[in-house]
């Protein structure tokens, strides 16, 4: 039976208000933490829980917290990354607009654990209404004594600030986010130094995703071991999956990590299968940045075992036959989807969103987009496919931040698995550019 750690109360009417949230057991974790636990004890529980960063990279949260430098007399900061702009990902938005107090409660616990007295929630600028919801919730929590000076008489002070972003995907990258928060142009920083040593205003800083921070109330209430008992292997706990595309029931689902991909797509409990009369062709499992997989590899590992919704299983086989869990942006394609067009579309996004700081990404993203556009619109050349592979290779790993990789991977993987489809566009331009035309050659449809 699926555990609901984040979404148990999400459908309770009025849950966005303090009173209803409190009645459902809200803020008991703050009470427990501040009254009975030391900051280090909380860090210990989060470590035991093994919860991994939900923003995309999957870095163990407890470990990140324990890396935080603690020099005397220097403030430390916690910054919540709520910039969620990755195409296909919409879980943080869902959580914040429906149950804002869950995030605020998590922020209080996490800030206390890290010794931060001023913490920030950096919200994607387009989500103005969510920003208003959060601000209202913060005001309520403050009025009830859960924020501000001397919280619950514990002597601990916390100010929580909501900062709207300016509408740039790159400001979701943690160091670009910090620059933006400081009021500067959102250029990612070169690392090292990492934020844990020099972050916001050059002070030690932890940046965590909304979903990561939201897990902390449950971990404090139930203990890290209970959290680690959910899930599979090193993929502990539950994960919010933003499911979209050609499925019967798109939406946000909280799953125990370890559910088979096949079940997640076809079971009624989750996506409810491919839309009637169509077949499963391809999957982007973790947001637009991760490699796309054809249907057969999406459901099964190279060794024939079922692929599971977990960090390890999704990346099984490396990029040759695997992908990544990423941020959990789960996009399903049926046979009507043109992979070339989709790849071009993703590429267009990364071209538009590159900050332009480093040359491989600034120039390479635009180049790939233009070549893909040409192929899609019937002007491709024979050498274009290899050119794309080479340009992707020259970007990957050679940039300041992972946006370069994120731009390269979708292109490289689409060609790796759907090369025939690209070739068809080049060989049959007039056919391929007919309205609604899609490659119907040999491929595994499920």
């Amino acid at each position: 039976m699926a555990t609901k750690i984040l979404t148990e109360h999400i459908n309770v009417p009025g849950i966005e208000t303090f009173d209803v949230y409190r009645k459902q057991g809200g803020y008991t974790a703050v009470e427990k933490a501040l009254k009975t636990m030391t900051p280090d004890a909380i860090v210990e529980e989060v470590k035991k829980a093994g919860v991994r960063g939900r923003g995309g990279a999957g870095f163990p949260m407890g470990m990140k917290w324990s890396f935080l430098a603690k020099p005397e007399g220097v403030p430390r900061y916690l910054v919540c990354n709520a910039d969620e702009s990755e195409p296909g990902t919409f879980k943080d938005h869902y959580l914040m607009k429906n149950i804002p107090h869950l995030l605020i409660e998590g922020m209080i616990i996490s800030s206390y654990a890290l010794g931060a007295n001023k913490s920030f929630i950096y919200v994607r600028g387009e989500l103005m209404y969510v920003i208003h919801i959060l601000e209202k919730a913060i005001a309520e929590a403050k009025a009830e004594g859960f924020l501000g000076k001397n919280i619950l008489g514990s002597g601990y002070d916390l100010e929580l600030v909501v900062q709207p972003g300016g509408g740039a995907y790159i400001c979701g990258e943690e160091t670009a986010l910090l620059e933006s928060l400081e009021g500067k142009r959102g250029n990612p920083r070169n690392k090292p130094p990492f934020p844990a040593v020099k972050g916001l205003y050059q002070c030690p800083t932890v940046v965590n995703n909304v979903e990561s921070i939201a897990t902390t109330s449950w971990i404090v209430n139930h203990g890290g071991d209970a959290y680690a008992a959910i899930g599979i292997g090193r993929s502990t706990g539950t994960k919010l999956i933003s499911a979209s595309g050609h499925i019967n029931k798109p939406g946000v689902y909280e799953i125990d990590l370890g559910v088979p991909v096949e079940d997640f797509i076809f079971a009624d409990e989750w996506c409810g299968g491919i839309r009637p009369g169509h077949k499963f062709k391809a999957l982007v499992a973790g947001g637009s940045s991760v490699p796309i997989l054809p249907a057969n590899l999406a459901l099964t590992l190279a060794n024939g075992e079922k692929r599971l919704m977990s960090y390890e299983s999704l990346s099984d086989g490396g990029f040759a036959t695997g992908t990544m869990l990423g941020s959990g942006g789960f996009i399903v394609f049926d046979e009507t989807a043109c992979i070339v067009r989709n790849t071009w579309n993703f590429s267009r996004f990364y071209h538009h969103e590159s900050c332009g700081q480093c040359s491989p990404c600034r120039e390479g993203t635009g180049w790939m987009e233009k070549v893909l556009h040409r192929i899609e619109y019937g002007h491709g050349h024979q050498q274009d496919i290899d050119l794309l592979v080479d340009v992707a290779k020259k970007i990957e790993g050679n940039t300041i931040c992972p946006l370069g990789d994120a731009a390269a991977w979708p292109v490289a993987s689409a060609i790796r698995h759907f090369r025939d489809e690209f070739q068809w566009h080049i060989d049959h331009p007039s056919e391929a550019t007919q309205p609604g035309a899609v490659y119907r050659g040999e491929m595994a449809l499920i």
């Binding site: 590159s354 040359s359 020259k394 970007i395």
Partner: protein
């Protein structure tokens, strides 16, 4: 009192097989420069005198084959040598790594992608870092057939013209304005390949030290309006001179054509970096020999057409990249119908830089 100096323990690092000892905190690039030009990675954005510069162009990527003596594992990705500090026992591959050579080829290609390649009419030609970088590390043909990004030329203030088409967004001019002028009114606007250097609401750059952005610009994006189209650098003669200047050090290089000073710049070191910035009065207003005390001809120790045919051979060793380039150039040259282009005559000079045989020390 005897001065007690506690010497920090020196770190040993090997770059392209050559060992060097440096102080803790030294970057790979600086360590390589200490060895010499043969192993120094190219740097298109890093500028030693400017704090915070580097990390952007990715021209200086190197492979770290062993992280340190303690942890000799290789680093998983190529690293920017201008920002990565050395560890004791680190082993670095610069042009001895085919992966690095390949990545640099990529960086040249990316930097030239939207570049107008208007060297024949560009004032920077001959002293352009991008030309040198492309010559040393680039591929011979372009694979880009899309439209290039273009901008109108713009006057930013009375002395400087901006050719945004040529800009490689190294941010050097931004750091310069931040660090040596009292107010920065220009910066990078927009993002991705639509990013551009621009002044705040087309404001003019007007500041005693503004002219230095011209010197730090690695390409011909920021040019001296008092020198525009006056000459080609290889026809001019650089001479070191100084004057008593109340605003700056007054140490400059005068560029002569015949008896006329046609340009004044700050002095550059062998890495093409200005270490003493000069004021606008020295740069733009003092263009008479009588304004200056002449020190003598400028020694150009970096390889440049400014010192055409006068390369210091002792400093240049054929590196992996150069040997590779030499082989490639030879292959193209062998294929090409040279008689038509009259290239045959030029060839020996042009290839002198890359042909290993030409670089062997003279007996």
């Amino acid at each position: 009192m005897a001065e007690q100096e506690i010497k920090p323990q020196l770190l040993k690092v090997t770059i392209d097989g050559i060992e060097v000892e440096v102080e803790p905190g030294t970057t790979i690039l600086q360590a390589a420069r200490k060895i010499g030009p043969a192993v120094a990675p190219p740097a298109m954005c890093y500028y030693q005198p400017l704090k915070g510069s580097g990390g952007k162009c990715r021209a200086c990527l190197v492979r770290v084959a062993a992280g340190s003596a303690k942890d000799p594992r290789p680093m998983p990705k190529l690293v920017a040598s201008c920002l990565t500090t050395v560890q004791d026992g680190m082993v670095v591959e610069n042009e001895t790594s085919p992966q690095v050579v390949e990545a640099r080829k990529g960086v040249v290609e990316f930097l030239l992608l939207n570049h107008p390649l208007d060297c024949p009419v560009c004032d920077q030609a001959g002293e352009c870092d991008l030309q040198n970088f492309a010559f040393d590390h680039g591929r011979e043909t372009t694979r880009y057939e899309e439209d290039r990004r273009t901008f109108e030329k713009r006057d930013i203030g009375p002395y400087i013209q901006l050719h945004m088409t040529r800009c490689i967004l190294c941010y050097r001019c931004v750091f310069t304005a931040d660090q040596i002028t009292n107010k920065r009114v220009h910066g990078v606007m927009g993002r991705g390949d639509a990013a551009e250097i621009s002044t705040y609401i087309e404001k003019a750059i007007d500041n005693d030290f503004s002219g230095n952005v011209i010197d730090v610009c690695p390409v011909g994006a920021l040019t001296d309006k008092t020198y525009r189209f006056k000459n080609r650098v290889w026809f001019t003669k650089p001479v070191d001179a100084h004057r008593d200047c109340p605003t700056c050090s007054g140490k400059v290089t005068l560029w002569y054509r015949g008896d006329d000073v046609i340009r004044v710049t700050a002095r550059k070191n062998e890495w093409n970096e200005v270490t003493e910035f000069i004021c606008n009065t020295c740069r733009f207003d003092k263009k008479k020999t009588s304004d200056w005390t002449i020190e003598g001809p400028t020694k150009i120790s970096r390889s440049s057409v400014i010192s055409a045919n006068k390369y210091r051979r002792d400093e240049i060793k054929p590196s992996f990249g150069q040997r590779l380039a030499a082989a490639e150039y030879k292959a193209i040259d062998d294929e090409r119908d040279t008689s038509q282009l009259g290239i045959q005559q030029l060839a020996p000079e042009r290839f002198a830089k890359v042909l290993p045989s030409a670089l062997e020390p003279e007996p």
